[in-house]
Amino acid sequence: MLSSNQVETLSASGGVDLSTWEPRIFAFLCNWCSYVGADLAGTSRLVYPATVRIIRLPCTGRVDPVFILRSFQRGADGVLVSGCHPGDCHYSKGNFYARRRMLMFRKLLEFAGIDPRRLQMSWVSASEGSKWAQVVTDVTNEVKALGPLRA
């Protein structure tokens, strides 16, 4: 077979045992709200699924959808973007742009055949440690129900 167009990238995951599989969620958190909120969940010793891998950014407005595509390519089954509540952005407007971007990017993913529920978004403030734990729990359950992305 002429294989040049069919080469899989490195992190293929064929043959997953679904009974033990846990989703990998890459989370892009804004430095000023959600990252602090996630930290508060930790210092409060809240228990929530260990599925999330956090990447800290200055603001959700920094998220270019290429990060999301890269995450999927590198093994993420779901991506979560979390930032300050609308009106509370540390940079005034970044999360407003992010909101429009993520809305449109989910439409694009859906048209391309990737379940848009693999891209989630939340507003979590610095004091919302328990909300963070709940968000991660809910996102994990939803993505788990969708199964591994590579399958």
Binding site: Q6, V7, V66, L69, R99, L108, F111, G113, D138
Partner: protein
């Protein structure tokens, strides 16, 4: 068609003789006398090579912008501005409006020789050199193909696009003919860090095609050139048309139709809704 060709030649001759512009960008016949190619005329004596016919589909706004754009070139001292007259199809007119909104050049730098079709466009051509019909058959065909994709399940659609993107050879013709792909360093060519690898694997190709579709969202002028030039026949127009519909549905915005409207993804309303956000 002949009338449009005559109008273009007349205007080009006048503008060059009066030294109102330095170059007229339009179309000419190729070497075989049948296909058309972009033309760059800077002498009144050469205006008779300009033509217009139904094979003229290139979006000439592409030549205005970018590293070597006639209005934005990095290789020309800023005090040697080039004044351009542009033969502009309806999609090119929309592209010019959107590019102006992205502050790529000033309206005063450009003389627009417009070919209109009655659809909304956000600028008045300096001269209207022709009227053409909207290709309703083509539009219906695109609509039908999108509807067919919508009718598929998510998994079927995913498989369908995987087959299409696995054909991609990363020639970047889609990018290079597009007026909106004017970044001096495309994200696909960035390697510090590398977001999209160069090699044509399925995921790399999906990354490339989806990120280009996303970066065009809210900007694309719907000229269809990306689709026409793809050497392996990937129906790129379907994605860009779909995203134009999504932007219009969500934000009541159609790129290039209103010079005052803010580009949808470069703007926001404090009360935008997005029901999926927790």
């Amino acid at each position: 068609m002949e009338a449009i060709t005559e109008n273009i030649r007349r205007e080009a001759r006048r503008l060059l003789e009066e030294e109102a512009v330095d170059v007229v960008i339009g179309y000419q016949l190729g070497w075989d006398g049948v296909e058309t190619v972009p033309a760059f005329v800077d002498q009144p004596a050469e205006v008779d090579k300009l033509v217009y016919n139904e094979r003229c589909t290139h979006n000439l706004a592409k030549y205005l912008v970018g590293r070597e754009g006639y209005l934005t070139s990095r290789f020309r001292p800023s005090d040697q501005a080039v004044r351009v007259a542009l033969v502009a199809l309806p999609a090119t007119l929309r592209a010019v409006v959107a590019l102006l909104r992205e502050y790529q050049f000033d309206r005063a730098d450009l003389t627009v020789l417009g070919i209109v079709d009655g659809t909304p466009v956000g600028l008045e051509p300096d001269v209207e050199v022709g009227r053409i019909e909207v290709d309703t058959a083509k539009e219906e065909q695109i609509r039908a193909q999108i509807d067919e994709l919508d009718g598929m399940s998510l998994a079927e659609r995913r498989e369908w696009w995987r087959q299409q993107f696995s054909k991609c050879i990363r020639c970047y013709a889609c990018r290079q003919v597009c007026p909106f792909c004017y970044c001096e360093q495309c994200i696909a060519d960035e390697n510090q860090p590398q977001w999209i690898e160069r090699s044509p694997s399925l995921w790399n190709n999906m990354g490339w095609n989806l990120i280009r579709a996303y970066h065009l969202t809210g900007r694309c002028s719907d000229c269809g050139e990306c689709d026409r030039v793809c050497p392996v026949g990937i129906p790129l127009r379907l994605i860009n048309s779909r995203m134009l519909d999504e932007v219009e549905a969500a934000f009541a915005f159609v790129p290039g139709t209103d010079p005052e409207a803010e580009p949808a993804l470069a703007a926001f309303q404090p009360d935008d809704t997005a029901g999926f956000i927790r």
